[in-house]
């Protein structure tokens, strides 16, 4: 994956040099190791700032809306699916974005790596399939595949579904026999145990809305949680309000979520908010055979009526 950064920089340089695009949206190194952050580059001299490695877990499709002029964006498999969703939902026009596709081998679970160290991580390096991580007290060499994020481990769309240029060779797609083991595990519990599971899951939520802000699907001008007239949900730490927020946030993503993992990546309290959205992803797949963002020509299931729609829930 580290070899493709040269290619990404080269493509970005060419695009800006020929003035084909006004900006390039990509990742740059953050202020601390493993904290790559999104960056917008408008000048060709700055293309050296672009990086791409296994810590680029956020979703850049989140930053392509409401841009003036043509923009280029670096897109992993999941990002590209969210770009498709944006185009379907008229948030951006296809000819306004130049997509630099990056076949992806998965992003790493930073909290899992941090938990191996008692002190702060000072250095992160990637060498093929291994990660070399250093703190002041020790140095660890880890196998990347052992530390993948859960959504990347179960990902079946690692290659971009839509792109103008590729920055690397296409990778082999994983074939996953049981794509939703986590959802099935929760579903096997009794109703009360499921309730306790979700209570435990959200008990540390501080309502910072980082999950919502990191999500490319959440682009309402005023989010329901911010509205005051009417006020749909309380703004404090009451557990019912927290549950309502998570439940509705997930529901707004039904049939649109690509399980890119940006929500869980952004959460400062390490809450796996994907437990909510994954259930809906599984349902839309089971009921409509739908996976979001794969086809520019198809309307999402909650957007279109078909006489074959399952309707056993209504009397």
């Amino acid at each position: 994956m580290d070899t493709c950064i040269q290619k990404i920089r080269e493509i970005a340089f060419q695009l800006l040099d020929k003035k084909e695009v006004e900006k390039v949206i990509g990742f740059s190194n953050g202020t601390i190791p493993m904290a790559t952050s999104p960056i917008t580059i408008a000048s060709k001299q700055d293309t050296e700032k672009l990086v791409f490695n296994s810590t680029c877990g956020l979703n850049l499709a989140n930053y392509i809306r409401q841009q003036k002029g043509k923009i280029a964006v670096i897109a992993k498999g999941c990002d590209s699916r969210n770009i498709v969703t944006h185009i379907i939902e008229n948030q951006v026009k296809r000819d306004q974005v130049y997509i630099i596709g990056v076949p992806c081998n998965g992003m790493i679970n930073k909290s899992k790596i941090k938990s191996l160290f008692e002190d702060e991580i000072q250095k992160f390096e990637e060498d093929g399939d291994s990660l070399i991580i250093e703190s002041s007290s020790k140095k660890e060499k880890l196998k990347k595949n052992d530390y993948l994020r859960e959504n990347c481990r179960l990902c079946q769309h690692r290659n971009p579904v839509i792109y103008d240029v590729l920055a690397g060779d296409l990778v082999k797609e994983q074939i996953i026999d049981v794509p939703y083991p986590d959802v099935e595990k929760i579903a096997a519990l009794e109703a009360d145990a499921r309730w306790i599971h979700f209570q435990d899951l959200t008990k540390n939520c501080i309502r910072c809305y980082a999950c919502r802000n990191a999500c490319p699907l959440c682009y309402c001008p005023t989010c329901f949680v911010d509205e005051s007239g009417p006020q749909w949900v309380g703004k404090g730490q009451d557990k019912t309000d927290i549950n309502t927020f998570h439940f509705l946030r997930a529901f707004h993503c039904a049939g649109r979520c690509t399980d890119c993992g940006a929500c869980a990546e952004a959460c400062p309290m390490d809450i796996n908010v994907r437990d909510f959205t994954r259930k809906l992803n599984k349902d839309t797949f089971d009921m409509f055979g739908w996976e979001a963002g794969l086809d520019l020509t198809k309307r999402p299931p909650l957007d279109a009526y078909s006489p074959d729609d399952p309707n056993d829930f209504i009397k």
């Binding site: 959802v183 929760i186 579903a187 109703a191 009360d192 145990a193 499921r194 309730w195 306790i196 599971h197 979700f198 309380g234 009451d238 019912t240 309000d241 549950n243 309502t244 439940f247 997930a250 529901f251 039904a254 909510f276 259930k279 809906l280 349902d283 829930f313 209504i314 009397k315």
Partner: protein, 53 residues
Amino acid sequence: MGNLLEHMGIERDRIHFSWISSAEATKFVDVVKEISNKVRALGPNKKLVKDYN
């Protein structure tokens, strides 16, 4: 929506969806009777209820 609520541990019988025309008085009565019977059987709901005390 019903599926996700159920997945979160809210009993399925508390959630009902129906489409009733204003001309369908008997259907309305039947549906409400069915809902109240099912909910009564479950007893008071303690989940997703805000405690103001």
